[in-house]
Amino acid sequence: MRIIEVFRFALRGLRANKLRSGLTTLGILIGVGAVILLIAVGQGSGEAVQARIDSLGSNLLLITHQSSAVGRAASTRGGTQSSTANLTPAIAQDLAGSDQDPDVSVVAPVASTSVTATFQGASTTISQVVGSYPAYLPISNDVVSQGASFTTDDVNHANKVVVIGQTVVTDLFGSINPIGQTIQMNNVPYTVVGVLASKGGGSTFNDPDDVAVAPLSTVQDSLTGFGSLSEIAVQATNANATNAAQAEVTNLLLAYLNETTGTEQFTVTNEASLLSTAQSTTQTFTVLLAAVAAISLLVGGIGVTNIMLVTVTERTREIGIRKALGAPKGAILGQFLIEAVFLSVIGGALGVVVGVAGSRFTIDGIKPVLVPSSIALAFGVSAVIGLVFGSLPANRAAKLHPIEALRHE
């Protein structure tokens, strides 16, 4: 009695009930496919967050109004409850000039808004138009890839010049060289002096390339007005000094607010640590997705048991005949165990195919990233499921008493 014959019997049993075998396989297929795909989605969104962190600059602090930072993590408050105090370029200059913040290297006030930009009939919405100093570009990890940045002189004279991101270039210019061209931003003409290198990797968040950077004075003059700044960007001397810099800036702001009795609350936000939080959230999310997928795999496994129990009951007579003809217990056990393992392994293999194929598509803005170990794990688990969940019905079959089995109708 060779194993290959037992295999043949098992395959014959599966073929006898193609629809049932197919549906059982489908259960495992969905489970394995879901595990692979959902882990890939989780991994993909995690990597998107990581890319965003990398593009931000890891040592960036943002000072904003308290009100605009409600619910944000990794922030500390400056000042006490009150009515109005604007974030002004003066505060930024104070921070830059103070000697009580040795961990701060660069300070740039930021006025930001979004505009509708047009160029020769092409039109797009730039979601982030930043008015700042030239120092803003290194702080935000922006690199001018073409042309040049605007200068301090441009800021002093409120020259209408702008540096634009790749998305804006694509939307407005197509293949035309944008340098030296004039675009209308909310009907104000700006001359493009530079193009930023693409940052990419921001599909889950705002597109980091959908940006335009212009001198602070120009933007305030023509777009935002001279009210409170949107934020003040502060760069710490290095990534390790961000917490120290955050504390120093907070203290300086408190001191400033006490002096000026203007008692608006500001918030100092460590953007990178905020995104780290987002990333750990993503990881939790991945674990949850994997758990749900694992449950569906388990349900698929129970489906295998269920179908095999039905099969054993249905084929009780066949088992009786085989035993009467001298089939040893092991042959019967093997036959049904192989059927169960075959169902789950085929389902697992197809699930891998579906999972891998599915992860080639972008799902809800997330590009899934396959985790090879998840493929091995899901496939291995499906094989083990066949063994574990198949052993109960197979054992039941092997233990059947031949007389009773033969009597079974």
């Binding site: 014959r12 006898a16 085989r322 035993k323 009467a324 003809l325 001298g326 089939a327 040893p328 033969l406």
Partner: protein
């Protein structure tokens, strides 16, 4: 033919039963299916076991077929003490020593005649080519060479039972055990199948048929009547090493495709 009879002289009996008892249940609810049965079936014998339902003949058949174990008493099959065997050894005995023919044919569904006949050889560990040769020979013996690849549902009842007989013979067992083999067959098919048994016995195959039909029992050389778990009659119609009583009649009605020589070879 000489092989079967010659061997019977030196070999132990095909079936030797002494003081066999089988009790189902316990205490007051106990059912005594067999109450002490002694039976000796020499090789080459052709025995009909008769009895009404409830007489214990099915229990007897299960025990002789090694599908069940007796509560008391001894059973030797071809000299092997069956009582001392474990389950794995019993399955080997069933495979090598016994050929079953059931009332309801019990062919595997969706499995060709050839594969059904081949099945005992598969469990016996016979190699593929040898299996094929022996299974085809057995099918030829029962006159179904032209139905080798037919599925059971493509065969008539008589043909199915002949496939079952081929399957019972394919391992050259010491004993062919038939439980109401004609119970589901019409008269003509019954005649065919019993004629087949007659010819098998004529070449030395030991056959035990369990039946409740007198005219079926008349094919046997000997009949044993069971009542309430005891043998009440053990009557020999013709000697164990002779021809079965109806062989001549069966051969006149049916020209057998296979000669007795072929049977001995199988």
């Amino acid at each position: 033919m000489s092989t079967g009879n010659g061997a019977a002289a030196v070999r132990a009996s095909a079936v030797h039963i002494s003081g066999l008892k089988k009790i189902y249940g316990e205490g007051d609810a106990a059912v005594h299916a067999l109450r002490g049965v002694d039976l000796d079936v020499p090789h080459g014998d052709y025995v009909a076991i008769m009895g009404a339902s409830g007489s214990g003949k099915s229990t007897m058949m299960n025990i002789i077929g090694c599908l069940d174990v007796p509560s008391a008493g001894g059973y030797r099959l071809d000299g092997i003490d069956i009582g001392s065997l474990d389950e794995a050894q019993l399955s080997v005995v069933r495979n090598r020593k016994i050929g079953f023919v059931f009332q309801s044919f019990n062919l595997l569904p969706r499995t060709s005649a050839f594969e059904n006949v081949e099945l005992p050889l598969v469990y016996g560990g016979v190699r593929r080519l040898e299996r094929r040769r022996r299974a085809l020979a057995a099918l030829e013996l029962v006159g179904l060479s032209d139905r080798v690849d037919h599925l059971p549902n493509q065969l008539s009842g008589g043909q199915q039972q002949r496939v079952a007989v081929a399957r019972a013979l394919v391992n050259a067992p010491s004993l062919v055990l038939a439980d109401e083999p004609t119970g589901n067959l019409d008269t003509h098919s019954s005649y065919e199948v019993m004629g087949l048994f007659d010819r098998l016995n004529a070449v030395g195959r030991t056959i035990v048929v369990i039946t409740h039909e007198e005219d079926i029992a008349e094919h046997a050389k000997r009949f044993v009547r069971l009542v309430d778990g005891r043998i009440v009659e053990d009557h020999r119609l013709s000697p164990a090493d002779g021809l079965p009583p109806k062989l001549g009649a069966a051969e006149r009605d049916h020209t057998p495709r296979a000669t007795p020589r072929t049977v001995a070879g199988g």
